[in-house]
Symmetry: none
Subunit: 194 residues, 4 copies
DNA sequence: TATGAATGAGGATTCATTCAT
DNA sequence: GATGAATGAATCCTCATTCAT
């Protein structure tokens, strides 16, 4: 996963804007965040925002689009590398929890924005949900997974991960999620198994 | 579960406001919804909103508070009535899917608010998540459920349900979720089981 | 000519906005006038402007459109009533100078805005220039006027009147233009005559 | 008349700025034109504008001041050279129409600025209107012209010319105005004559 | 010297809320 | 009680101007 900070080496202000925006969007929502807020938090003038983004919406959208795309590619490749279904499941969960723990604001933003931004995407856009769907469908084909609509298994997988992250944010869970990877893998394996 | 429409028998305009507001809040978020929107959609004047709610925030809050409470009570009692863990799990899932299919906007508002409006409402409410936590904890005590932090099992349960509803909203799943209750119960049973 | 003040009897704030806007537009131009200026001068809140006009542009346009239309109708009918070409010419000039002296801001606004607003009109829109063109064309048909492109005679007529008004505004001419009607009629009669 | 392009031989960017600015000022007014517009149209950076002009206002002012002065001197000298009143009138009209057809934007800017930007520039400039005033006054003194306030005759002269140019811009007149010089001279001679 | 990114004051417009009818 | 016009603070965005490179 390429993180905000590495996006550009020469440009110093773009990542500052993005970091500030992500933080604020997570904290107060996109509509609840003002351009003045973003400017203040990023240490940049309001006007400067508009050299980099057409509008606040555009900033929100790019933040989502770029990072969902990066993350999904990373996720898909790590799943692909794993040798069998259970390892693939493990890779999926690991990748998510690592991303969450390393870039919590950003990952949270992706979760929260999904509902809002996803409508604007071409439906061909690669998204972690698709990776989950492919994973479950492949598991079914190999005979490991419970039959039926793969959307159900994929929803259980994705929903569980998201909810675990939310629990972590709300401090219902107060330890690093990465230490629960095996545990969670085992549980979801139990859920998907034939 | 007491639904919006039954809340008041004499007052005819209050439920109209609430229905419109819920719909709009789900669609565009609280900050993204204007009082003008609500007035227009409910067929009521903007001024009239303030006869019933102190502010827009107050409307959003009451909408959440009242219904999440009602629903949680209903959920808890239906789970309590079930005789053993698996039936309790089944009752939990059934109650959620029924609520979702009958009052989709309202249920979506209740479950999405927690994700999307992260810190808007205090987490002190009696919430379906608490019922799930109790359910898993009890399952562990009875020796049926996998040990460990019950927050993990509860997150898997709640997250899966939410995600299935979202899939239904996005039409990834295009049939009534109530017909999947047994299926989903079986899967989550697999996830939680020792 | 229907003047701003008579436009609406019940509504008290619309004419206040229009009067203030006309004054300011003439003084500082449309782009040079802020909505704050208009609000302050009309004694109305900035927000209230938007109940009556979609935008500042819309206000400018309506101000132009409504009054050009009213004035043109008045002008055309007074010209039509006059019995022969010279009397028609006299009627044209009188009507213009009367409008200018009675509602100087408004008339000046119409002159100044022509260039800006006229492009947005359907070319079928009735305009004082058309009345002048018809007048000259009719004069040519009757054999009284110099032949050739009637646009030339019409330009001389309209241009002379506008310039006289501008001279009055600049105080190059510092007496009521109505007292020059006969004089100017005589001159323009000399210009148009065969 | 010295035209923009000849103003500076060494500097290549100054005339580019001036041409672009004149064009835009005529099209959208001074307030309606942004420095970004000027930079884009002239192919020069925004920053570079400020090497040549103190401000946008300064640019507009110089554009007007320099050229109105040059043009007025040229106009005055060509009128002075003509031997009698009618030839002077002819020279005035010819000079204007030539300037218009050769440098339409610039001439339009000079003549429209006075109407559209009513009080922007001080009226102390040597201006074509003054030449017209002198011409009519001289005609009256020589006994050729109708008596009375010479401002009236001058307004008719200048207003007619301006309006003919505007008609040409709006394509109400769609042929070169220079071919109408004799015609227009004849008409205005009719207007001014005793 | 020329560039164009950055600034931040200021502009048009919106919106939650109030209040006269 | 209900309405919807009015308010004015707050929002997003633009633009003349500056300045580091």
């Amino acid at each position: 996963m390429h993180f905000i900070v590495e996006k550009s080496k020469t440009n110093t202000i773009l990542p500052k804007i993005m970091r500030a925006a992500v933080r604020l969007f997570v904290e107060k929502g996109i509509d609840g965040t003002t351009t003045k807020d973003i400017a203040a938090k990023s240490g940049v003038s309001e006007g400067a925002l508009y050299r980099h983004f057409k509008s606040k919406e555009d900033l929100a959208y790019h933040l989502f689009a770029v990072h969902v795309n990066d993350f999904t590619l990373d996720l898909a490749s790590r799943v692909a590398e794993a040798k069998d279904f259970k390892h693939k499941l493990h890779a999926y969960i690991t990748t998510c929890f690592e991303a969450f723990e390393k870039e919590r604001d950003l990952f949270t933003y992706l979760i929260l924005s999904e509902h809002r931004e996803l409508d604007r995407f071409p439906s061909t856009f690669k998204h972690p949900g698709h990776v989950a769907l492919d994973l479950v469908a492949a598991g079914q084909k190999s005979g490991r997974c419970r039959a039926g609509d793969p959307a159900i298994g994929a929803s259980i997988l994705v929903g569980s991960i998201i909810r675990l992250c939310i629990a972590r944010i709300h401090k219902t869970i107060d330890y690093d999620l990465r230490q629960e990877v095996d545990n969670v893998t085992e549980s979801l394996w139990g859920a998907l198994l034939k």
